[in-house]
Amino acid sequence: MAKEVTKNEYVPFLSEIKEVIKHTDIEYTFRMTYEGDVKPGQFFEVSIPKYGEAPISVSGIKDGLIDLTIRRVGKVTNEVFEHYEGDKLFLRGPYGNGFDVEEYKDKELVVVAGGTGVSPVRGVIQYFADHDNQRKDMTIITGFKSDKDILFKKDFEYWRQKMNVILTLDAGIETKDHKIGLVTQYIPDLKLADVEKAVAIVVGPPAMMRFSVKALLERGFKEENIWISQERKMCCGIGKCGHCRIGDKYVCLDGPVFNYTQGKNLVD
């Protein structure tokens, strides 16, 4: 019998930064080299020796490249921002289940995303922008703090041509491009042909997700047609370190994307 070989998941590989896209002062997208299968909503452990590792979700996938949209908020991410095109970062992954676009095909789709929550779901939005014949009507409701905090500005121009886009800010002055207010206030007025069959994805800070799901359910969405993506501390990404566990689910293995019928039972 051949000796069983266990892969060492913890040793990272080097990936080169091909491009750095600056969205805001503290949020950049690092376009990295990566060959292999990966789905939107999956994540990589990004690391820099001495500073440690941080789980970062994939915000774009294209021809041997992956986008990692990183907010500069911690020890590791601060250091990532000291790296530029041509530099290398250590990665391991991808981990987690990610979004399965098959679930949303040929349906009315609503995406509600707040802040960096747009990153994990950007791949799904991009897919259905490119393949608008594979879906019915699509609406995205995205919220940011202020006009300085808007991510993926360029993408929004393209998305506006392809789908209904509601971009709303917590504060500031209303313009033709964006409204002022919370993402939840646009949910009751969503125009849907058949809400019982419509599907929704909600990603963002915990409170935003809670209230958005509540509003979607009140609007008539079925629990099984709502998906959420969770964010937790993770040290391993492979179901060992325990940090991301909520009840009997491991966000890194069973998630980060959960159907709401499962997600609603998760008590931190």
Partner: protein
């Protein structure tokens, strides 16, 4: 096959085995207890039976043999990464009691079945043999019978420590060969041996069959918000707690040479859920107690079909606030009734 050995013969067996294996057993660390003039019993490498403490309960479990407190995963120098060598150059023999032998199954479940296999655990887990220390009676805080972990057949050598010697039930060929050789040279006493196991415990525990996440809403957790000081000792002594945190250590000021380690983590201690940007979950110690309790008595069972807690009672023994985990488990029934009464 069973033998009865005297101390000299038992040490001869250990001596021959130690050529190929490191031997780990509970050992007394004089004066190292939590209070002045008390001793600590924990696992260490031993050479012979005199080094071992086989009559008392070890305050810490065997788990550090398979899952070290701090374990280097790899070294890095600029762009290159070098995997850390195996910390042991031999196989190992672990002396443990039935509850702990059941805990090995829980560790295996986490590190080998929950997601992909853990490379570093796997290499320490390979070539391990277990000596089951028979328990003729339970210690005060034990509740193995109620957790179904009082008995195990999954050992290489079963051992009863008697006044006049050591009774061994040997299932392991390597040990059988050594004993067979010894039997030829001396007159070794062969006899049938059944490993002692505990049939009743003074501490009793009953986990309600209808236990569900609704219990989170109960008021029982509030007590622990005040009593628990989130020191994490319960996690560190628990043979089934396996959480860890990554830690980068560097050796010089330029930070280009260093290593990545994993170190034990505790869901009771601050920082366990901290995400970048300042977010964290379960800030209240009562919530942490609920999270830990439900893992041991519900979450793990939902994934595997059996409870995680093995009833060793070490968490009760170690708690500086005298919080009893068995008592918490026994409160779950009332807590479920409270929650369902409140709708």
């Amino acid at each position: 096959m069973g033998y009865k050995l005297n101390e000299r013969e038992f040490n001869q067996l250990l001596g021959e085995l130690s050529e190929k294996y490191l031997i780990y057993a509970p050992k007394v660390f004089v004066g190292k207890g939590r209070f002045s003039d008390t001793d600590c019993i924990r696992y260490d490498k031993v050479k012979n039976v005199e080094d071992m403490e086989l009559s008392l309960k070890s305050q810490y479990s065997f788990k550090e043999v398979l899952n070290p407190v701090s374990e280097t995963l790899f070294y890095f120098t600029e762009d290159s990464v070098k995997e850390a060598d195996m910390p042991r150059n031999k196989g190992a023999i672990i002396f443990l009691r039935s509850c702990d032998l059941h805990a090995v199954e829980r560790m295996d479940e986490m590190y080998l079945n929950n997601g992909p296999k853990d490379y570093y655990y796997k290499r320490l887990r390979d070539n391990i043999h277990f000596v089951l220390i028979g328990c003729s009676k339970a210690f005060d805080s034990c509740f193995c019978v109620d957790m179904g972990t009082n008995k195990s057949d999954n050992y290489d050598i079963g051992l009863n420590v008697r006044e006049d010697g050591y009774e061994l039930d040997v299932k392991w060929d390597e040990a059988k060969d050594i004993l067979g050789k010894m039997a030829k040279e001396n007159s070794l006493k062969e006899e049938d041996v059944t490993v002692d196991f505990v049939k009743e415990t003074t501490t009793r525990v009953s986990i309600p069959k209808n236990l569900s996440y609704d219990v989170s809403k109960s008021k029982i957790w509030e007590e622990y918000a005040g009593r628990c000081i989130n020191c994490g000792r319960c996690n560190f002594v628990c043979p089934t707690c396996t959480c860890f945190t990554m830690q980068d250590v560097y050796y010089d000021a330029n930070g280009k040479v260093g290593e990545r380690r994993r170190v034990w983590a505790s869901c009771m201690v601050d920082g366990y859920t901290d995400v970048a940007g300042g977010g964290s979950y379960r800030k209240n110690n009562g919530e942490r107690m609920r999270f830990k309790t439900l893992h041991k008595a519900l979450d793990y069972r939902n994934r595997t079909g059996y409870n995680m807690c093995v009833g060793c009672g070490r968490c009760d023994d170690i708690c500086p606030e005298y919080i009893s985990f068995s008592n918490i488990l026994n409160k779950l029934d009332t807590a479920m009734k409270e929650v369902s009464a409140n709708g």
